[in-house]
């Protein structure tokens, strides 16, 4: 086998029948430490991502979604620090990894797609070279082989390979996001974290890219953590959805289940804040109040100041745990706890 014909596909050890999670996050804690305050942006967050699964992560701005993405990828910068918890990737402890091992691990196994593709691409490098340097950082291949691979990748994400020597500013917004996805695919990672990948794009391009991402996922068999504040988008693409509020996960369920049968009061009200295009006309409810200041989070359940069904005397005092309320469906609310509200 010559080098140009080398296989870029990775053998997937976890794909065959086992249900071992690819990524296991347990009790993750991230704090922003400034002189004025310590803000715990992510508080005891646990979740799993299984092979070839799309996990959606939703919540209002500032609820800690992106912080989780950065923490798992270990690209948090001071003043943000991981202060507790475990992140296991295929049995490897990511938080214990030193810089050198981390450098090798990154992108090869775990890639990240940023919110704004314009800012995620180096403006003075061609997109081809930005794919090539990712490949060459991890594999001892010649520039020519890496370029062949880059051409292939551009084709895969629907960019005319002749654009390989284009600079980011010469591409449209949608093409730039595709280029970023091509870079993410370069080493065929097991997991791609997509942090609001389509937020900056118009609705039509959004749909196209989402559709293509799903195709690519099925073709290459990677997993995705898809982060967005747009629930309607999430329902379409995710297998499971985790809802975050004020640094905590308050509900996790398979998307259809969550959509049809939201349990947590916050999720319910979140669902009501989106118009449905095909359904009957309805008055959008919205959620009164605003997310809490995380330097001084509310006592008890963090949602209680905005909750319309809170149990007086309990929700202000006691923090609810994330409990399984239906098969594969967990929520953190006293109302759903059989011991509290039978």
């Amino acid at each position: 086998m010559t080098t140009t014909q080398r296989s870029w596909a990775k053998t997937r050890t976890t794909e065959s029948g086992t249900t071992e999670p690819l990524l296991m996050v347990r009790d993750l804690e991230v704090e922003y430490r400034t002189k004025r305050a310590i803000v715990r942006a992510v508080d005891h967050v646990s979740f799993d991502v299984f092979p070839n699964e799309v996990l959606g992560l939703a919540g209002e701005s500032g609820c800690g979604k992106s912080t989780i993405a950065h923490a798992v990828t270990r690209i948090l910068k001071p003043p943000a620090y991981i202060t507790g918890g475990k992140v296991m990737f295929n049995g490897i402890d990511l938080l214990a990894m030193d810089e050198d091992n981390l450098r090798g691990f990154r992108w090869e196994h775990l890639a990240i797609v940023f919110q704004s593709a314009m800012n995620a691409l180096n403006p003075v490098m061609t997109i081809g070279n930005q794919i090539i340097d990712a490949i060459q950082a991890h594999m001892p291949v010649s520039k020519r082989d890496a370029r062949t691979r880059a051409l292939e990748l551009l084709n895969t994400v629907g960019i005319d390979p002749r654009r390989i020597d284009s600079y980011p500013h010469q591409l449209s917004g949608g093409m730039r996001q595709r280029a970023v996805i091509a870079i993410a695919l370069a080493l065929n990672p097991e997991l791609i974290i997509m942090d609001e990948p389509t937020t900056a794009l118009d609705v039509v391009v959004q749909k196209q890219i989402l559709y293509e991402v799903q195709q690519l996922k099925d073709q290459f068999g990677f997993s995705i953590i898809f982060i967005t504040h747009d629930l309607s988008l999430l329902v379409e693409i995710s297998d499971r959805i985790a809802i975050m509020y004020a640094g905590e996960i308050v509900e996790v369920a398979p998307s259809q289940e969550l959509f049809r049968n939201p349990k947590h009061p916050y999720t319910q009200r979140l669902m009501n804040s989106f118009p449905s295009i095909s359904g009957p006309k309805q008055v959008l409810a919205g959620i009164p109040g605003s997310p809490p200041d995380l330097s001084e989070p509310p006592t008890g359940c963090r949602f209680h100041p905005r909750c319309h069904v809170k149990i007086a005397g309990l929700c202000e005092e006691v923090h609810p745990a994330l409990l399984e309320v239906a098969p594969n469906h967990s929520a953190a609310c006293h109302l759903l706890d059989p011991e509290v509200a039978p």
């Binding site: 690209i75 450098r103 990154r106 691409l121 003075v124 490098m125 990712a134 950082a137 500013h169």
Partner: protein, 324 residues
């Protein structure tokens, strides 16, 4: 490419305007150099010689537009007239000799200052709050804040006059024969250039370092830097090809400009160290009312600045694909 063609056109027009101003300004001043020269010779010069001299220096009694075209014609032939202070050497020869010394001293020092300052700035931003950022940067900024001549004279006084580590003036030991093949002469040139070059480097570096550091810090906050790190690239590559490569863009223009002005002679350096470059000759020309030489030097400075700007444009286009 179209951009560069447009810029070239712009610089041609700018050069023509500069030449025109350069022609008219001295002619609008009262008196002429020959009268000044005549006065200096205190009557030992015959009026007939004066007329001849006038003609030599281009101050003929012809209509102004005719003079202007003669001037342009002369310029195109590389004829800048004859110097008065260095009589009878032609201006081009004086400038040519001086330019060599200036380029060697100010040119080299400006480049060293820019490269050194920029590299230090990159490290200061990359290792923010560490030694280069918290010690070297304030120190260089402090030195750079002094008036240049003060630093230069202080160093000259302490290192050359007091400690006698360096020669006091000139570009080489005048007792040695000018011969670029002899190591003795070359050593002498280096010895004489060291201190003036050092003063230019040390006073200029702080500015470059601060500028580069601040650009870098701005760039380091960009998503593409985080993404480059997430891609698993080496720190060196992220620092140079992703961060510094973008952060240097605003510095390039400043560098080209300062290179242009350096060709005009590090005026103060050459005066303090009596270094026979363009700046030194400009001062002598002013003192000696040597209009042809002044005119020639001014014209050369203007053209050098224009050329440097043009170079900045070209480099910018090479470095930033968005400018193409």
């Amino acid at each position: 490419m179209r951009f560069l063609v447009r810029r070239t056109g712009f610089y041609m027009v700018a050069a023509l305007i500069a030449i025109t101003l350069n022609f008219f300004i001295p002619r609008m001043m009262s008196g002429d150099p020959v009268t000044a020269m005549f006065a200096r010779f205190q009557g030992r010069l015959e009026p007939r010689t004066m007329d001849a001299l006038r003609e030599t220096f281009g101050f003929v009694d012809a209509p102004i537009h005719e003079q202007y075209f003669t001037y342009l014609q002369n310029l195109l032939q590389g004829n800048f007239g004859t110097s008065i202070t260095a009589f009878p050497a032609p201006v081009t020869e004086v400038i040519g000799n001086a330019l060599v010394w200036t380029l060697r001293l100010a040119g080299t020092a400006t480049i060293v200052s820019f490269v050194g300052g920029t590299l230090l700035g990159i490290f200061a931003a990359w290792k923010r709050g560490r030694f280069s950022d918290s010690v070297i940067l304030p120190f260089l900024s402090f030195i750079g804040a002094f008036p240049y001549f003060f630093v230069a004279m202080l160093l000259l006084y302490i290192l050359a006059f007091g400690l006698k580590w360096f020669p006091l003036s000139h570009a080489y030991d005048l007792s040695i024969r000018v011969d670029w093949g002899s190591p003795e002469f070359v050593m002498s040139v280096l010895q004489h250039a060291a201190l003036p070059a050092f003063t230019i480097v040390i006073t200029g570096m702080g500015g470059w370092m601060l500028g580069m550091r601040n650009n870098m810090i701005g760039v380091l906050g960009e998503d593409y830097i985080v993404m480059a790190q997430a891609k698993g690239l080496s720190d060196r590559r992220v620092m140079l090809t992703y961060a510094a490569r973008n952060a240097i863009l605003p510095s390039v223009t400043g560098f080209a400009m300062s290179l242009g002005f350096a060709i005009g002679g590090a005026l103060l350096t050459e005066i303090v160290f009596s270094y026979p470059g363009i700046g030194f000759w400009l001062l002598s020309a002013v003192n000696g009312r040597d209009y042809p030489l002044m005119q020639g030097i001014f014209l050369m400075i203007t053209l050098a600045v224009l050329l440097a700007n043009f170079m900045a444009d070209v480099i910018y286009v090479m470095l930033d694909p968005r400018a193409r």
